[in-house]
């Protein structure tokens, strides 16, 4: 069959052969252009899926160990002393007032898990002197690890006083 086609092709005029070959090459180039893009896309997709599946497999394989580590971490804390979001708010307000400062409390964030949750709260202290700030800070540190400081920014005017501070504090809540 191929030899028949070959004989048929070779019997064509030169311009017809040229045209046939040109069309065939053009067809290949055009199709290959789209095909290579599709192949590339598919390759990247399947690669990403493979990597994601491998990651998932690893996480699933480590599930027991992670749960055990979480249990162990939670065991370090006294569940009764851990603070939920509301208690954190109240506790920080109480500690600030005990230090003689009036806090601006806002922007709460919560990360919730099966066994425990982490709550965070932004605390803004305006026009506060160094000693009051230090007292508030020491009050917070005394409640560690149930309350801890994640971020601390202190601003001082050119005159040096009064200061303003922005803190993000967080607490852990262990499910009882």
């Amino acid at each position: 069959m191929i030899r028949t086609l070959r004989a048929l092709f070779l019997a064509r005029l030169f311009r017809e052969k040229l045209l046939l070959v040109a069309f065939a090459v053009l067809g290949v180039v055009m199709w290959f252009s789209g095909f290579s893009t599709r192949i590339g896309t598919f390759w990247r997709e399947q690669r990403a899926t493979t990597v994601s599946l491998a990651e998932q497999k690893q996480w699933l394989a480590n599930r027991t160990a992670i749960d055990a580590a979480a249990q162990k971490a939670a065991a370090r804390l006294d569940a009764a002393q851990t603070l939920d979001a509301t208690r954190l708010y109240a506790e920080v307000d109480k500690l600030a007032r005990a230090a003689g400062v009036t806090p601006g409390l806002g922007e709460q964030r919560d990360v919730t898990g099966d066994q425990f949750s982490v709550h965070s709260l932004q605390v803004t202290l305006n026009k506060v002197d160094w000693e009051a700030l230090k007292k508030f800070y020491l009050n917070l540190q005394a409640r560690s690890p149930y309350i801890s400081i994640e971020q601390f920014t202190l601003n001082a005017p050119p005159s040096g006083s009064p200061l303003s501070a922005v803190l993000r504090v967080c607490s852990v809540e262990v499910a009882k």
């Binding site: 070959r6 065939a24 067809g27 099966d114 425990f116 949750s117 690890p145 994640e150």
Partner: protein, 390 residues
């Protein structure tokens, strides 16, 4: 025309276009050739022999030769160009092979002593396989035909008898009923002829030497054929590439619809569970950090502030639990010389790993220099001022 394309394809390639010339146009000679002579040298020897044998210059001859590989003789045949009409040569452009009729049978397996008789309308040709040396060709003219069939047959029989007598030594005589007819060959470039029950196969290299056309024109023709074959190969390559890409597209679609889809479904199904585990891990790490790693901004400020030279003032202090040992301080001074002193003093502290000054600049027309001091403490070097809750 009623045949289906499939039937056309199954029928195989058409037979090659061959021009068989009357044998009477040609004279034949045999020349000796050394057995190991290269093909190019054989062609040169043939041309030299023709120049000495022929009464005309070689440029005025249509010639060819038969020399199977390793043979010790070559059979040369040539015709004076003017004996071939323009009508005949016009047909040659389309032909794949142009040769004398007897040459078409030179590829037939003939036992020594065998004589083939070819009957042309106006002549008889005998091809005799001698016991030694190349085949011998004998041609004789036939008497003009008359209206009486029996007289014509008798004249033909007499001419054949005379021809065989001229040949001499024939042990087997094959009187071919038909002239050779070209058949589709088994492989490209080869030629196969059939005359009655006799088959003659001429390989491509031998057939090329048998072609009597102008040699320069043949070279140009072969170049054209080579180019066309290259075109054919490119076209076949393109078709194969298109088929492969078609196959690839099908595989791609099948791969997406089955294999990849199953994996994506699995990925989506596992995602909530994995996210839960990741969350648990993140929370466990965070609790661990809360219990064991504490951000101590005031303590770090105290350590740094203890080394402040006279005119440097802090304007902003930033610390983050993501990097517990680092404190970034924006400061200003009216004496820029103090900045280096400050840095050196900090680096001399046992708690400090390193101190770095950046963004140092002066406001135009102002003696005040602002800068950023990033101090990194050694791990665990800064101690908390308070004891923690149990």
């Amino acid at each position: 025309m009623s045949d289906s394309p499939l039937h056309f394809l199954r029928a195989g390639p058409p037979p090659p276009k061959v021009c068989l010339l009357p044998d009477a146009l040609f004279f034949t000679r045999a020349i000796s050739v050394a057995a190991d002579t290269p093909a190019a040298d054989v062609a040169t020897q043939v041309e030299l022999a023709l120049e000495s044998l022929a009464p005309f210059p070689i440029a005025q001859l249509y010639y060819g030769y038969y020399h199977p590989s390793g043979a010790t003789a070559a059979l040369i045949f040539a015709a004076y160009r003017r004996r071939v009409t323009a009508e005949q040569t016009d047909l040659w452009n389309e032909a794949d092979l142009v040769l004398p009729t007897f040459a078409a049978l030179l590829g037939a397996p003939l036992a020594p002593g065998t004589t083939l008789i070819l009957t042309h309308p106006e002549s008889l040709t005998a091809v005799h396989a001698a016991a030694e040396g190349p085949v011998q060709i004998f041609t004789t003219a036939l008497p003009a035909a008359t209206d009486e069939a029996s007289a014509n047959e008798a004249a033909l029989a007499a001419a054949k008898a005379e021809l065989l007598r001229m040949v001499g030594g024939s042990t087997t005589v094959l009187d071919l009923a038909t002239l050779p007819i070209a058949q589709a060959a088994a492989s490209d470039g080869d030629f196969t002829f059939v005359a009655g029950e006799l088959n003659s196969r001429l390989p491509a290299t031998i057939a090329a030497n048998l072609d009597v056309r102008d040699k320069a024109a043949l070279v140009a023709r072969r170049r054209g054929l080579a180019r066309d074959v290259m075109f054919w190969r490119v076209a076949v390559g393109c078709v194969v590439a298109l088929l492969l890409m078609g196959l690839g597209e099908i595989s791609l679609s099948a791969g997406r619809a089955t294999w990849q889809k199953v994996r994506l479904v699995q990925l989506a199904a596992q995602r909530p569970t994995v996210e839960k585990i990741m969350n648990a891990q993140a929370l466990a790490t965070r609790i661990e950090d809360l219990s064991t790693k504490r951000l101590l901004p005031m303590e770090m400020i105290s350590v740094v502030a203890a080394k402040i030279p006279g005119l440097i003032r802090f304007s902003r202090v930033v610390t983050d639990a993501k990097n517990l040992e680092r404190v970034t301080i924006d400061a200003r001074t009216d004496n820029s010389g103090e900045i280096t002193l400050f840095k050196t003093a900090l680096e001399a502290l046992p708690e400090v790993a390193h101190a770095e000054i950046s963004s140092q600049r002066n406001a135009p027309g102002s003696p005040t220099t602002t800068f950023t001091l990033t101090t990194t403490f050694k791990v665990g070097a800064v101690k908390s001022a308070v004891t923690t809750a149990p």
